[in-house]
Amino acid sequence: MCLAIPGKIVELFPGVPHLASVEVAGVRRKVDLGLLQDDPPTSGDWVLIHVGFAMSKISEQDALEQMQTLMILGENEQAMQEVRGYGLDDADDHNVS
């Protein structure tokens, strides 16, 4: 819950402006962009994700370092489990159980 997970915005959805697809270490999931509405990210931007919501925009360098920090903290697996668990993608309903 307290993990801050770095992800890259890879797809935006014009019809649903508060959602975006992000990629975290090769895993793609939808996250909510509602908390960045004052400064919306665009495709290619990096964000820090908390519990399925993008909370802040960061640089690519900071994103890579954040991933490394999670690794050293021994929390990278937990972070990936969290990301894989995000269930906003229709195909991933089973992940919510």
Binding site: M1, L35, L36, H50, F53, D62
Partner: protein
């Protein structure tokens, strides 16, 4: 330097550690509190204590939301799970936390519909796909997670999803710091401020700490170098006799915080008059409740919640550890009745609690060393 050697630039870390040694007054004892549970976990994991001078003492603060949640709140939340039409959802961190009748996971084993979610929006989605059930999300966390809960309720209201509610246990960090500073047995010199909470609230809410209490605070990132740099910044302030709010984590924390997140919180939540914290007791205006305009999505307003109160076991000295009066191992229960597998006190409950972190990294290491066959 257990894990620091693996880090990206050991040279910079060594130079920063040298700077710390240069700045400390050998005749003074420094007591610095890291407020955030994430920092506590990182300090033990990185072995930062091993590279700090012995007269710098790190006190582990109240910033682990799982740890400070009273057991009665878990009982209250789980009381709703007994209803056959209710799906109880919570983050994975909550699943093994004991209530008086067992943890959420144990309730699941007894046949109740208890599920892990990784985001409050997943709980809302579960409500959409299970229209004949009521989905309750057991929400915990400081200002880092509260905006996500708020936005989820705003979406539920906008989309008219009525089979969803939130059991709100969100707490706010500033009143907890105030409670610790108001305590008569408190002896702290400065604060390492929380990184991700400050992403939301910014740096201004800490200004009273420097104005009224004359204690320096530096908002810090979570890498070893971040925390060492923050300690350098605190030592410089202490040396100069000044106290100000500084932001070491500028790459993530804007001075004004995240306004969109603060707006969402203000739309959905209001302060409770008081709330109980494990280890610290009742603290006024320290937690959030759901506004009446969102009553339909508030588990507490919508259902009959028993309002269970479970007092902390008297023998557990969590409050003294939180205030830095005792070290984890100085508590009478530590490592005996109270261990991570069977937590008695609040700080042993989550891996980010100071007792659990100390137990996992220091106590186990000491046991392993003492049991090792002599070479």
């Amino acid at each position: 330097m257990r894990f620091v050697d693996e880090f990206r630039d050991p040279g910079v870390i060594t130079r920063t550690a040298d700077e710390i040694r240069r700045l400390v007054d050998p005749n003074r004892h420094y007591r610095l509190m890291e407020v955030c549970g994430g920092h506590t976990h990182a300090i033990y994991r990185f072995g930062l204590k091993d590279i700090l001078p012995p007269n710098i003492e790190l006190i582990h603060g109240p910033g682990c939301p799982v740890c400070v949640l009273p057991m009665g709140r878990i009982d209250d939340g789980l009381s709703l799970a007994h209803h056959p039409d209710v799906i109880f959802t919570a983050f994975g961190d909550m699943m093994r936390v004991p209530g008086t009748q067992g943890s959420p996971l144990e309730h699941k084993a007894r046949g109740m519909d208890v599920r892990i979610v990784y985001s409050p929006s997943d709980a809302l989605k579960l409500a959409k796909t299970n229209p004949d059930k009521h989905v309750m999300f057991f929400a915990i966390g400081f200002e880092t997670t509260a905006p996500s809960s708020a936005l989820t309720l705003m979406r539920a209201k906008a989309e008219g999803i009525r089979n969803f509610s939130l059991f709100c246990n969100h707490v706010t960090i500033i009143p907890a710091i105030r409670a610790i500073l108001d305590s008569p047995d408190m002896r702290l010199d400065a604060f390492i401020g929380p990184g991700h909470v400050s992403t939301v609230i910014g740096c201004r809410p800490y200004e009273w700490i420097v104005k009224d209490e004359r204690k320096p605070i530096v908002i810090s990132g979570f890498e070893p170098l971040d925390m060492l740099q923050s300690i350098v910044m605190l030592l410089r302030q202490l040396k100069s006799g000044k106290a100000k709010v500084e932001n070491q984590y500028r790459r993530v924390v804007p001075w004004e915080g995240n306004r969109a997140a603060l707006r969402a919180m203000a739309e959905v939540f209001q302060l409770r008059p008081y709330f109980e914290w494990r280890g610290l007791g009742f603290i006024s205006q320290s937690a959030l409740r759901i506004r009446d305009t969102y009553a339909e999505w508030d588990s507490e307003q919508r259902f009959n919640v028993p309002g269970v109160r479970v007092t902390d076991p008297k023998a557990a000295q969590c409050g003294e550890v939180l205030k830095g009066v005792l070290k984890p191992a100085q508590c009478k229960l530590f490592g005996r009745e109270c261990i991570p597998e069977h937590p008695v006190g609040a700080l042993m409950v989550s891996s980010e609690g100071s007792c659990a972190a100390y137990y996992n990294y220091e106590h186990r290491k000491a046991i392993t060393t003492s049991l090792a066959w002599p070479a």
